[in-house]
């Protein structure tokens, strides 16, 4: 029996997090939702969510995410630690502004994972080694970058590097736990680090094909949720605030 834990990362004020939790309540039972709070620690007690963990990490609170190499390593580690002794089989990780818009999201993700025979599904997955992809060029300047992957990889081709959009990803629990257990040897941007690590640990990483139009790094889909749902989207990114939005009646 599959059981999905929805891990939602938010740094917004408690009132916005309450709206977010209510939104997620249309998709998952409260016991299947874990809120990772990356905002001010003083806000944490006011967050009315049954399952919550505060993560205070300088690598999370970046301003210019790629240049400062934002990291979710501590977020994944906190979620993995929280899951110990709990029987979740899969993890869906989402940033606060990556919203689900279908009630049976977990079922759809499980079916897609099975049809892709994948261990990890993510958005915007692309292979970037030896290309002009900006994040790759920024990392490959450091000699230890490729050396690290050559050292830990169990793949025949140890030069493969991936990039993804880090806003949402779906994981088999063993893959999630294995990635969470790894220590970042030096700062790497999460959009490069997470898919590349999963790949070199031997997990099959695939893209959420068909979701590209509604999951982007820039823009705002706040006024287009109905359109997205009618177009067949499962999730949308970004939607920065839920104020004034109502599930199904946006």
């Amino acid at each position: 029996m599959s059981r999905v834990l929805n891990v939602v990362l938010a740094h917004t004020p408690p009132a916005e997090i309450a709206r977010l939790a209510a939104w997620w309540g249309n998709v998952a039972a409260p016991e299947s939702l874990l809120l990772i709070h990356g905002g001010p620690e003083a806000d944490f007690p006011a967050i009315a969510v049954p399952n919550k963990v505060h993560v205070s990490s300088a690598r999370l609170k970046t301003g210019d995410h790629p240049r400062e190499r934002q990291s979710y390593t501590e977020v994944f580690a906190a979620a993995s630690e929280w899951m110990k002794g709990r029987d979740f089989t899969h993890v869906y990780f989402a940033e606060f502004d990556h919203l689900p818009i279908v009630a049976d999201l977990g079922r759809r993700q499980l079916e897609r994972l099975a049809s892709e025979k994948a261990d990890v599904l993510c958005h915007g997955l692309r292979r970037v080694d030896d290309t002009g992809w900006h994040h790759y060029l920024y990392h490959s300047k450091a000699p230890e970058f490729h050396r690290h992957w050559e050292r830990i990889s169990r793949r025949a081709d140890k030069r493969v590097i991936f990039s993804m959009l880090g806003t949402g990803s779906f994981w088999m629990r063993p893959a999630f736990d294995a990635v969470a257990a790894e220590k970042e040897p030096f700062p790497m941007y999460l959009e490069i680090y997470l898919p590349t690590l999963a790949h070199h640990l031997g997990y099959r990483v695939r893209s959420f094909v068909g979701e590209e139009q509604w999951v982007r790094n820039l823009g705002c889909f706040r006024g287009k949720l109905r359109e997205a749902r009618l177009a067949g989207a499962w999730t949308v990114h970004p939607v920065k605030s839920l104020e004034g939005l109502r599930w199904g009646g946006e």
Binding site: T131, G132, R154
Partner: protein, 87 residues
């Protein structure tokens, strides 16, 4: 505010550059893979406005020419690596 202004200035510069950009075509498949302005400068080629993960290579030739070679562009095929369990 400073970052906002820098971004606006960059967006404006990119919009201008894209007026002079050309299509990049995958030399293996013939498909369009993006648009960019290519500027040779001080022994390097500056690629401006490209938003795809593109590789660069000299294109193999059917006919041997000593005086001209082409630099072309291509992309990795969609990744499809199997699960490889820990041995």
């Amino acid at each position: 505010m400073k970052r906002f202004l820098i971004r606006k200035f960059r967006d404006f510069g990119l919009a201008v550059a894209r007026q002079f950009a050309s299509d990049l075509v995958d030399f293996r498949t013939g498909k369009k893979i993006g648009r960019a302005l290519l500027l040779p400068w001080r022994g390097r080629i500056h690629v401006i406005g490209l938003d795809e993960a593109v590789q660069v290579a000299f294109i193999p030739q059917k006919r041997l020419t000593f005086w001209r070679q082409e630099i072309g562009f291509t992309v990795h095929p969609p990744s499809d690596f199997p699960h490889e369990p820990r041995s």
